[in-house]
């Protein structure tokens, strides 16, 4: 493996694991269900995908890269969908945002 590819993988691992750590800090510090959900649905997705890129650089194989591409596409589709479902269920089960909403399209409706 060339030196440049090795350094690219190292940078991918560093940035990806720091993004996952940021998602964890957001889980602790954010005051609200919806903010926590925004933290994990963006930061954790980007971190995981960067770590998978580092794995694809490390193995440098067609089959493994196809497998990693498959799981990246799957995560890109499913993680925002799951976050949307949790936010919807949390809204209807009575979780309030920590400040008043500027716009609330579901106000006054009953699920």
């Amino acid at each position: 493996m060339s030196v440049a590819a090795d350094w690219l993988g190292i940078v991918c691992i560093l940035i990806g694991s720091l993004f996952v750590l940021l998602a964890g800090i957001g889980m602790i510090k954010f005051p609200d269900l919806f903010l926590r959900m925004a933290a994990i649905s963006k930061a954790a997705t980007l971190g995981i995908i960067l770590i998978f890129g580092a794995a694809a650089i490390h193995f440098f194989d067609v089959i493994v890269t196809l497998k990693l591409f498959l799981i990246v596409v799957f995560l890109f589709i499913t993680l925002p969908t799951a976050s949307h479902l949790i936010a919807r269920a949390g809204y209807w089960s009575g979780c309030k945002p920590y400040r008043n909403m500027v716009r609330d399209d579901w106000r006054g409706q009953s699920s």
Binding site: G24, I48, G90
Partner: protein
């Protein structure tokens, strides 16, 4: 400094700290929806740890476990969200 040593000495401890922060929210979350969100983050952290372990041990078989874990966490999240909505309607 190679990719394996960086993954072992930096990536795995940082991901483990993220896992611990998510476990704190799983224990002390104020509502059930917070616990589901933290469960999602725990699944993501474990998938990342599996990818880093496959780099460290040089075994691409561990990535298959990551695929299975991603599918299972998505299904369980959907199940929990459906349970929350149905519990409210009763």
């Amino acid at each position: 400094m190679t990719m394996t040593s960086v993954a072992m000495s930096f990536g795995l401890p940082v991901l483990s700290v993220g896992l611990l922060l998510a476990l704190y929210r799983l224990c002390f979350g104020p509502s059930l929806a917070d616990r589901i969100v933290s469960f999602d983050l725990i699944a993501s952290c474990i998938i990342g740890i599996l990818a880093l372990l496959s780099i460290v041990r040089d075994q691409p078989v561990l990535l298959d476990i990551g695929i299975i874990l991603a599918i299972l966490s998505f299904l369980s999240t959907i199940g929990f969200a459906y349970y929350l909505e149905q519990r409210r309607k009763q």
